[in-house]
């Protein structure tokens, strides 16, 4: 066997033609397709599944028609009755609800002024439709409200000494439909975002006596 030692080898590399390019693209698409197929097969797509125990709002496909349904659970390290009573006096919620500028309560009726996207204000009137002390409060909007909404907040003992699990569920018809919902999200005035933040502020206030802020001055 002889080793070639002299002279550089110059063999012009053929440019890939259209055929080769298409063949490569086809092969890649085939591999990707196979990967999707085998993943889906392992995932059990197409099989019939009995319902699970997860809250309906976490389902991958909405079961609520034109209503948007959102909800959130927080654990608050305070006794159940205390958390319930704080919430029951709706005026307390002004301190934890970022987008609610005013709350007026009168009997079973409550009027909420809510800051909407781009400096708009929405007036919502709700009627308390169920009030089980220490357990649950439910409400729904009256026909004159600018948003059609209903919701409930539930209080249950957390395991051991962890306090109270507070679960809020809000169903509403997004003004402007799906597009309106996306716009509201952009302005961070969407109930899913606000609800989540408001429950966290409720937790802060009840657990620590104050709502955390990084503002260096009161006016800021």
């Amino acid at each position: 066997m002889t080793l070639k030692t002299s002279g550089p080898i110059h063999r012009p590399r053929p440019q890939p033609g259209l055929f080769q390019t298409l063949a490569l693209a086809g092969a890649l698409a085939g591999v990707a397709g196979y990967a999707i197929w085998t993943t889906a097969r392992r995932h059990g797509a197409g099989a019939v599944h009995p319902p699970d125990d997860a809250p309906g709002r976490t389902a991958t496909r909405s079961r609520f028609g034109r209503h948007a349904v959102t909800g959130r659970t927080v654990t608050i390290a305070r006794p159940r009755q205390e958390v319930y009573e704080f919430w029951r006096d709706f005026r307390n919620l002004e301190g934890v609800m970022e987008n609610v500028t005013q709350i007026e309560a009168e009997g079973a009726m409550t009027r909420w002024t809510i800051r909407g996207p781009a400096d708009t204000h929405l007036r919502v009137e709700t009627e308390t439709v169920s009030d089980r002390p220490g357990e649950q409060i439910a409400w729904q909007s009256t026909p004159g409200s600018q948003i059609e909404t209903k919701g409930k907040i539930m209080f249950r003992d957390a395991p051991g000494r962890r306090g109270t699990e507070v679960e809020a569920i809000i169903a509403y018809v997004p003004p402007g439909g799906r597009v309106g919902q996306i716009i509201a999200k952009l302005f961070q005035a969407e109930p899913a975002i606000q609800g989540r933040r408001d429950l966290k502020r409720l937790k802060m206030l009840l657990e620590t006596g104050e709502v955390a802020t990084s503002a260096n001055r009161k006016s800021a």
Binding site: R162, R197, G209, A212, T213
Partner: protein
């Protein structure tokens, strides 16, 4: 007041900002007497941590005198305090389990969305860091608003110098927790990647916890000399094959515990670092993890991996197989400072721990930008910079 503000990548400036005031009942206002630049400030300086806004006041290692208190504060005006960099409410699930850095109530609700998306759960609040961690104005300033001042700050007895206790705010407990997370036993060989301030304190802590042998890895001669002075053996990774050397130095068994005190901006001319740096540069947000990868390869079967180094996003080519097949344990996290401050203060008072040996420079606050520049570019000589707002320029 005067304060060091972040303006962008490699651009920090001392500017005049409004004085802080009491906002919440449990607040206190501290007049800063000493504050340090931390290695994790360099991650902000290098622009690799998301969620920074121009004008943010940096600094999370600080101490000073109490000048104002809210009605819910337990501090008294005139007291000298060191303030932990983690803001903790003291009463949530995590604080009551001494996991103070994971506090549920210190990161403002409207700032929690991003970390909840990024990490699955919102982080706690930190001073002088990203808006992911609350965007709290930091301690490289003349005054700081300290929330939950009845929980975090530790009162310093008269007669102790600032420099003796300043590092209780972060790097001393961070080095200590790094060693604690490595579960060190008396016959153990412990290896520490990175002999910066946290790495040096981790070495000191590992020895205090009774490790038989501690090995420090770096490439700056001065930092390696400091590690050696503490009693560690040293490896300069620019002149040694680290994995091979660690096998030999640990009797062929491999080190029992490894500590990554480097984090997301690992250097070293290795192919994975080049790739990580490329991705960081083009902004795909991958952390650089050469030190961690090497630590996972080095540690013995069934060994412990402790990660005090900061990571912010995703790490490619993480040797998960080594973790599983060797049956390793990995522990990490921001430091639960309040869990350790009382014990570490006692150890300082009794002379068991020296905290001043790594201070290389003391500068007036006005010189902070020069401090950042040198701490970044001249790491051999600038091991630790302490800023003193009271010092004259």
């Amino acid at each position: 007041m005067r304060a060091l503000t972040w303006q962008g990548k490699h651009d920090v400036r001392v500017e005049t900002m409004p004085d802080p005031e009491i906002v919440n009942p449990r607040d206190a206002i501290i007049e800063v007497t000493s504050t340090a630049i931390c290695g994790s400030d360099l991650h902000l300086y290098d622009g690799v941590i998301p969620g920074m806004l121009a004008g943010d006041i940096l600094g999370h290692e600080f101490m000073g005198r109490v000048v104002d208190t809210g009605p819910g504060s337990t501090l008294q005006k005139g007291q000298r305090v060191v303030v932990p960099f983690t803001i903790s409410c003291g009463s949530c699930f995590f604080c009551s389990h001494q996991q103070y850095a994971a506090c549920d109530n210190s990161n403002p609700a409207e700032k929690q969305d991003v970390s909840e998306k990024l990490y699955g759960h919102a982080t706690g609040g930190l001073f002088g860091y990203s808006h992911l961690t609350g965007g709290y104005p930091g301690g490289q300033a003349e005054y700081v608003r300290v929330p939950f001042s009845d929980v975090g700050p530790i009162v310093i007895p008269d007669g102790m110098e600032d420099d003796d206790v300043l590092f209780l705010s972060d790097i001393l407990p961070t080095g200590w927790m790094a060693a604690a997370n490595a579960d060190i036993g008396p016959d153990d060989t412990v290896v520490v990647w990175g002999c910066g301030p946290v790495g040096l304190f981790a070495i000191q802590s590992a020895l205090a916890m009774g490790a038989a042998r501690v090995i420090g890895i770096d490439h700056y001669p001065n930092r390696l000399a400091l590690a050696r002075k503490l009693g560690a053996q040293v490896i300069d990774y620019t002149q040694t094959h680290v994995l091979e050397a660690l096998m030999e130095l640990s009797g062929g068994l491999g080190p029992d515990a490894v500590i990554d005190a480097v984090g997301m901006e690992a250097h070293g001319f290795a192919p994975d670092t080049v790739m990580d740096n490329f991705k960081q540069t083009v902004g795909v947000g991958a952390d650089s993890g050469h030190a961690l990868r090497e630590a996972l390869m080095a540690v013995r079967k069934g060994g412990r991996v402790s990660v005090p180094g900061v990571y912010g996003g995703f790490l490619d080519k993480f040797p998960l197989g080594a973790l599983m097949e060797k049956g390793l344990q990995l522990r990490t996290g921001q430091t639960h400072v309040q869990k350790y401050t009382a014990e570490l203060l006692r150890r300082i008072q009794e002379g068991e721990l020296d905290t001043t040996f790594l201070i290389s420079h003391r500068l007036p606050l006005e010189d902070a930008a020069r401090g950042y520049d040198n701490f970044k570019t001249n790491q051999n000589d600038w091991t630790k910079v302490v800023l003193k707002p009271g010092l004259q320029v």
